[in-house]
Symmetry: C3
Subunit: 148 residues, 3 copies
């Protein structure tokens, strides 16, 4: 099954990603590595996980970031079969004071990568707490893909 | 116009960067990638953006970080024309509780990259809030350049 | 002296590192770069450095993260002589409000890299304050090694 077929099976539709005209762009490809900009959720509650936002809602937000990053990869590569593997993830959680369950939140990103890419979706990762995120979103994730 | 000519036109003088003798060094080059250490501003108010420090002062601090990183690239490469492109920026903002305008702050870095390198100055980026920065500076930025 | 001999001389025993079966894995190798997951200390006090945790204990925690990452490199490469150099370190410190001595804390990581690898242990680095870390640990460090 291709990654796109797997997404269809999961009922996931990828967002359209445009490069735009700002200094900040969604991805840069160098050789066989695709560096992405940090991606924030398209929906869901704002605020700190462990405070205003539950771990469950944080997990859903991280999964939403994953869907966004797959949209980035699709826009960059045309076809998700051109992803060789997920290399490195930096999962950033807007964290209430003392909150320490960042890994459980960022699993929402990581789990989808494995659902879509199987063994090649496994990756090195840091899942850590931030002192704030743009627009007070709960989660932001950047990722490096190895690509064909 | 070369990057150095552009800097002269902008009235910007790059700092001298020395490698020093500490475990921490300003850059490491691996193949065609130049990894830099996080760079902090040389001047400007200390403290949290959105609290003691305004977004405007944060923008200026981020621009100052960009000048510093160009000094690093110059020291590493001899000539900024050896920068092929800006690849990836991690913009870290010392953020007051609830502050969410990190992108507007880090635009101070990103805008200068485009002023100096044009289209090749555009980059992937995360602009996020930290729980603290060295010496209580307002902004720190690390960057990966593709180089000749 | 090999890195392993140096570790023996320092009285340091590396932890055993297993890949496991989770989406998150300890390392991914792409070409000559070894990307690691963030590593947290195996022991030591929990909490924010500059608050519950002293800079000295934070330094020890960062050194413990370094020992862990050497264990990762050993598991990935078989032999630490296959490390060409340390490239890039992201040192993340669980920071009390206003704390600004993150570099002094992360020196615990950086110093050990130089003790073990000499000149090739020197690296680009950011040492920054987080809004929280998994399980409320005091320090987490991720690193990129260049490898044979």
């Amino acid at each position: 099954m291709t990654p796109e077929e797997k997404l269809t099976q999961l009922g996931i539709e990828l967002p359209t990603v445009e490069i735009g005209d700002r200094p900040l762009i969604p991805w840069v490809r160098i050789g066989n590595l695709l560096y992405t900009s940090g991606r924030t959720p398209s929906t869901g509650p704002k605020g700190q996980v462990g405070g205003d936002v539950s771990v469950e809602d944080g997990y859903a937000a991280a999964r939403d970031c994953a869907i966004g990053q797959l949209g980035v990869a699709k826009a960059a590569l045309g076809d998700l079969s051109n992803v060789v593997r997920v290399v490195k993830v930096l999962g950033m959680v807007n964290s209430a004071p003392g909150f320490g369950d960042q890994p459980q939140v960022i699993n929402g990103f990581s789990d989808l990568m494995v659902e879509v890419f199987g063994e090649n979706g496994r990756h090195a990762r840091s899942a850590v707490g931030m002192g704030g995120l743009p627009g007070n979103v709960s989660v932001e994730v950047e990722v490096i893909f190895e690509v064909k």
